[in-house]
Symmetry: C2
DNA sequence: CATGATTTGGGTAACGGTACCCACTCTTAT
DNA sequence: ATAAGAGTGGGTACCGTTACCCAAATCATG
């Protein structure tokens, strides 16, 4: 058995001597820089081909770029993030840039470590999805590296923002339920680890909009919020708490599909039917929501469009743009079988 | 509005001059190397603290390590991969290593690009989850960087393997269905882009085991396989095809939960009930399977244990181990409400 | 007390690229 | 004919860190 003897990697020097030119010439060719004749280009490209040379991104990064985009995701369990990644990947196709993901986690502290890890690896730019960090911290990051923030609403002149209009989306859901005739509409929201409940975090916007719309329709007394988490277990527990109340709600608006799935489970487990006894609606329009045995009413926010936009804006920033751009997607309601007029 | 003037990063030189010592001394301290007195250590650590210095991983990589682990996932839509990541993250906690994910995609070609991208960024080690690549290619990668391969079964002396015993798992499902009294048991498998259908890819093992067990129980004539994909849409389409056959199967074993969810949808849509008319079973025991309104019988393969083991083995390899280790997890069947004796 | 071993600190050449500058040739305009 | 400019190629310092080596100081030993 042979020990895996790591063979030396082909370097720019090898290419240069093989092609009988200077390393500068090779560098120019791989960077597509000005000052190489077609003949030189061919010659170098042939040598690169013959030796199977690939530049080492890390070494390039010491002077120039690493051609690496850092994507911070809170976690990878939510399939909605997969849509974002798909959009980003498509946007990056054809460029030399690659997207690397890192998991941010559930607290500000570990999220900070994750983003620092990206910076320390000299990524050329950072996309943060639904970060928990304060605006000050986001701007700090943006001063180190070109940055695009996804799913946050505050306005900054240091980074670009891409977001879904969560206020419009939440309004669509609550109004839909009200129009169906519901009055006792409850909401399941997400608990993050920040004490302040920043108004710019999407779950807080959805919750605040729910309350506003309820109030605007004279339903202030019917407001019922379960503070839990945007995942299956969270939705399940949140719904159980809501269903235990007397009188129990006739409709539940979960702030995310993942939570809505858990809410559906809680409703069934309580011996109730959807939508006959309780209507349930979610947010994100994940693939699962469309399945005939789930048919969850949900809000579509075009994750892949958001991911693509984030990629495009980030590349522009890397190229030198410094003005801040805000890109927002208008969500739409997808009505399915999980919502219907109340029977009681 | 101020343009984001990137301020120069604090370097090892800044720390050295601030602490009035040599850069060598600082380097030794951050590497925990031999040859520094306690007094020196304190002095340097204080300077690091005061300046907020963090070493640049990219520069470290030029001589030593980048403290980066590359994790190649086929995609991030399957929540099972999240379990793997959780296990890995936990294993890496307390070390300076960070896991970066890259999406491999659906074809060998893009997967190759993704893994090359990891190598070009000088990661210290690579974990490949359910790769499509040939064994030869995997060994090629392993010769460049310490490598651990997850969810593949072939034996190699160049990399470590971590896998679930898919043969045992598939056998559990099929035998369970046979014991319930089913005879017309169908299977939904996954189509990858390789022509050869390598015997070491997990979906091929599950499919082959299904056929073997059927044959061993005298059910060779009842073998019915739909070749589709391991995702919701794939399961939906595979199940539709199977349900169209005459006579239709009384049980469907989908090779992955994601596909099983789609199969459930197809069954309901056909006006049939689960499990009364058709039993459905999956593989992976994702969180969703446990929800009361899904109650999918599935195979649990402890993703976080596998992720943790992969991390441990990779760190050992980075530290210098060259012998190959194989770590396998024994799956267990979780019987839920989606499987029952056939009624017809 | 001389000698060798150990501890501690620092100097410096890499690592693999890129940015910047310079030199030379060949056009083109005056 | 000459100057200015464009096109083309190369030399080399530098990016931030580590590995390797050396020197000085301290310690243990016979």
């Amino acid at each position: 058995m042979v020990a895996p003897s790591r063979r030396r990697r082909v370097t720019i020097n090898d290419v240069a001597s093989h092609a009988q030119v200077s390393v500068t010439a090779v560098s120019k060719v791989i960077r597509n820089a000005y000052g190489v004749s077609p003949a030189m280009r061919d010659r170098v490209k042939t040598a690169i081909e013959e030796l199977g040379y690939r530049p080492q991104a890390v070494a390039r990064g010491m002077r120039g770029r690493t051609f690496t985009i850092g994507l911070m995701l809170p976690h990878i369990r939510n399939p909605f993030f997969a849509d974002i990644l798909d959009g980003l990947t498509e946007q990056l196709a054809g460029t030399d840039y690659r997207a690397f993901m890192i998991q941010g986690g559930a607290t500000r502290k570990v999220e900070r470590l994750a983003v620092d890890a990206l910076i320390d690896r000299q990524v050329d730019g950072i996309i943060m999805v639904a970060p928990l960090a304060s605006k000050a911290r986001l701007e700090e990051v943006a001063q180190e590296k070109p940055t695009v923030v996804l799913a946050r609403h505050e306005r900054s002149s240091f980074y670009d923002s891409v977001y879904d209009d969560d206020e419009a989306g939440a309004e669509l859901v609550v109004k839909h339920l009200i129009e169906l005739g519901h009055r006792r509409i409850a909401h399941i929201t997400h608990q993050d680890d920040s004490q302040a409940q920043p108004a710019d975090l999407l779950h807080n916007i959805r919750a605040a909009t729910y309350e506003r719309v309820m109030r605007e329709h004279g339903l202030a007394d019917e407001i019922a919020v379960a503070t839990s988490f945007y995942h299956e277990k969270g939705g399940y527990e949140g719904a159980r708490e809501l269903l235990d109340r007397d009188p129990r709600p006739t409709a539940i608006f979960a702030g995310a599909d993942q939570a809505a799935f858990g809410a559906l489970a809680a409703v069934y487990e309580a011996g109730l039917r959807v939508p006959a006894d309780v209507s349930v609606a979610g947010y994100d329009n994940t693939h699962l929501a469309a399945l005939p045995n789930i048919t969850l009413t949900s809000v579509d926010q075009e994750g892949s469009v958001m991911g693509g936009a984030a990629g495009k804006l980030l590349l522009e920033r890397i190229e030198g743009r410094t003005s801040a751009v805000r890109f927002s997607v208008t969500p739409s309601l997808v009505v399915r079988g999980s919502t219907a007029p109340p029977t009681s």
